[in-house]
């Protein structure tokens, strides 16, 4: 909000996945009939987030819930590859995920995350998905550009989000464009 820089520090429990988590695993195609711009269907999308993951990753969403107990996802390389469905970052955001820390992202997923402002897609210099475990207490600090695993006490460098950060903070490209006067405020 005006003059106030919201804190770019996110703390919570992390959920860990590895490489090439594609959008079918983030939100299986059978749920794409849900339209993200409809509020009740947005909620529903959240309840199906990560429903396509192989079971060995553990339980992301408890049965019957629409919010996950995790607020951070730790991932390997090429997170969000596959389809261009915006339902993927939306489902994660709707489920309560605030930030994903991955080695790298697929292009369209990264772009959709910024455009929607649903969650921060941050890149880490190191391959931390091999060192983190589900439920570890983690802080993602996008002011110092580090991620801290409180369960192990270790700290790792993040790549700065640059100009994408304020867009996500504002709530997506439309909100950012209005906030900065690029497009007129909604009537």
């Amino acid at each position: 909000m005006a003059g106030d820089t919201p804190s770019r520090q996110i703390s919570g429990k992390c959920f860990v996945v590895r490489d090439n988590i594609d959008t079918d695993q983030i939100i299986p195609a059978e749920y794409l009939t849900l339209v993200p711009s409809k509020p009740d269907e947005y909620e529903k999308l959240g309840s199906y987030a990560m429903a396509g993951l192989p079971p060995h990753y553990g339980q992301f969403m408890e049965p019957g819930k629409s919010k996950t107990k995790y607020s951070i996802i730790i991932a390997g390389s090429n997170f969000g590859c596959g389809s261009s469905r915006e339902h993927a970052p939306v489902a994660l955001g709707a489920s309560g995920i605030q930030v994903v820390v991955a080695e790298s992202y697929a292009r369209i997923f990264f772009r959709n995350s910024v455009a929607t402002g649903e969650m921060y897609p941050v890149e880490c210099e190191a391959r931390i998905c091999d060192e983190f475990h589900n439920g570890d207490d983690v802080t993602v600090d996008m002011e110092r550009d580090v991620v801290v695993n409180h369960s192990t006490g270790k700290e790792y460098a993040l790549k700065p989000l640059g100009d994408a950060a304020p867009v996500i903070e504002a709530g997506g490209i439309f909100a950012y464009a209005r906030q900065t006067g690029m497009i007129p405020s909604a009537a």
């Binding site: 195609a29 009939t33 396509g52 192989p54 090429n78 389809s83 261009s84 469905r85 772009r111 490209i173």
Partner: protein, 489 residues
């Protein structure tokens, strides 16, 4: 067997720039090299790639460099039943309930994903598209109202990427955005085409433009005589296996060379279609006489082809001698898990699927029918056929297959014991609602001509999908195992 000389360990060679060649392995794909590309048009001060030139024109600039962010004007925006309703929702929310789209003749709306299903929300989504198209007088809306019989819907096309080409919406030099990652298929026409999300599409719907980062280009030079048993699908699986599913992330993939020049438009579409499976922003083939002859009678819009300049800078250049390649598959669960089809001959399969924007075009079915006809045998596993569009479906029933005593593809499929060709749509390529035709509801093994084999892609999380060419798919249907199509051709 030709190609048997290839050492299988070749396939572990990394595609990153290599300083030396192995002394014992005859590489199918030469190490990437920086070198001056072959001929191109015109004298220019600032050499650019094909993709850079299209984006320069579309952003009203005389020159561009990769990494630059530019506002690009769209020539066409395509959306479908899965992402259209969300895009429309964003457009209405951001531009107002009474806002008009930027150009009613430049938006193409194609229901294709979840059509032949009893799922109420899926049906509602097509209704949303219809209401919006009517309200906005959208010129190109390919509607379906009678789901019981697709033939009762003359406007209905089917899979958007194939329909875009068949209906003349793909033109050289233009910029096409679509709310579907396989929008890159249209790069086959020498245009810039890429997939976007709902929010970006909502923005384009209102303004006709979008902010894009100019991609650098990987160039793939495919030379040599294409063996009779290979199809474009083998080439793109070969390339993805080489550079991995993220090898072209943020990059353009340009396909050139004598093998590409000899390809049909549908072959080129297969090649460009899977650029996204390597993470690519777009795939592109320079337009030529093959392109122009395909376009004849499909569009009366003027267009201007552009080509990479001699001296344009490519991130990397890969040279591939296609004459040395063998039929390949991508093993579960990633499109870059390349293996020779003959090395998977012990993999027992439960079904075969021929369909989608990648492998459901007329020529894909012609290839499958040709092999089945030559073999004269029955399939050993259920074989599902889903024509991409209504036109493809008609071709299967109306077009006599060459050298097959006047038989049509449909007749050959019936004789071989395949399932009757289904209603055109995306169908089970991406699973979809539970009642989707040929969806994998059990953890079975499928050889498929589609594009992705990540866990759960065709339905069940533990289902195993082997991506393959239509030849390989048909051969595998005859044996019940992943098979080498050379055994039948």
């Amino acid at each position: 067997m030709e190609g048997a000389m290839l050492h299988s360990s070749y396939f572990s060679v990394n595609a990153r720039p290599m300083s030396r060649r192995s002394s014992t392995i005859s590489a199918v794909m030469a190490p990437p090299q920086q070198q001056r590309p072959p001929a191109s048009t015109g004298a220019v001060k600032h050499a650019m790639t094909l993709t850079e030139k299209i984006l320069a024109r579309a952003s009203e600039k005389t020159k561009l460099v990769p990494g630059e962010n530019v506002w690009v004007n769209a020539d066409v925006l395509m959306t479908h039943d899965v992402c259209g309703p969300g895009t429309i929702g964003i457009f209405k929310k951001e531009f107002g309930a009474n806002a008009k789209v930027w150009d009613r003749e430049k938006i193409v709306i194609i229901p294709d994903h979840y059509i032949f299903t009893a799922d109420e929300r899926a049906n509602r989504n097509v209704d949303i598209l219809r209401d919006f198209s009517k309200e906005q007088s959208i010129k190109y809306f390919y509607d379906i109202t009678d789901r019981g019989d697709f033939r009762a819907n003359p406007d209905y096309k089917g899979v958007c990427h194939v329909a875009l080409a068949q209906e003349g919406h793909c033109r050289p030099g233009e910029v096409l955005f679509g709310t579907d990652s396989h929008t890159c298929t249209a790069g086959a026409f020498g245009q810039f085409a890429t997939g976007i999300g709902n929010t970006d599409a909502g923005f384009i719907m209102g303004t006709g433009k979008i902010l894009l980062k100019v991609p650098g280009t990987l160039r793939f030079v495919l030379d040599g005589e294409m063996p009779s048993y290979l199809l474009a699908k083998d080439l793109i699986l070969q390339i993805i296996g080489e550079i991995t599913v993220s090898g072209a992330t943020y990059k353009s993939m340009e396909f050139v060379g004598t093998a590409v020049e000899r390809m049909t438009m549908e072959d080129r579409m297969t090649l460009c279609n899977m650029a996204i499976e390597a993470g690519g922003k777009n795939g592109v083939v320079p337009a030529d006489e093959v392109t122009y002859s395909y376009l004849k009678g499909k569009t009366d819009k003027e267009f201007e082809s552009v080509y990479s300049d001699a001296g344009a800078t490519f991130i990397q250049e890969y040279r591939i001698d296609v004459s040395k390649l063998e039929p390949v598959v991508a093993k579960p669960h990633s499109p870059d898990k390349r293996a020779l089809a003959r090395d998977c001959k012990d993999v027992k399969i439960d079904r075969v699927y021929i369909g989608s924007c990648t492998g459901g075009k007329t020529e894909d079915f012609v290839a499958a029918a040709k092999l089945l006809n030559k073999a004269g045998q029955k399939v050993k596993v259920p074989t599902f056929l889903v024509p991409a569009t209504q036109k493809v479906w008609v071709d299967l029933y109306a077009m006599p297959l060459p050298e097959a005593d006047g038989k049509t593809c449909a007749q050959i499929f019936e004789e071989a014991g395949c399932d009757t060709p289904a209603s055109p749509s995306c169908a089970a390529c991406l699973g979809g609602p539970k009642d989707t035709y040929a969806r994998m509801n059990e953890p079975k093994v499928c050889v498929s001509t589609t594009n992705r084999n990540f866990p759960g892609r065709m339905g069940h999380k533990e289902a195993q999908i082997y991506l393959a060419s239509p030849y390989t798919a048909a051969a595998s249907a005859l044996t019940g195992f992943v098979s080498d199509c050379r055994d039948f051709l």
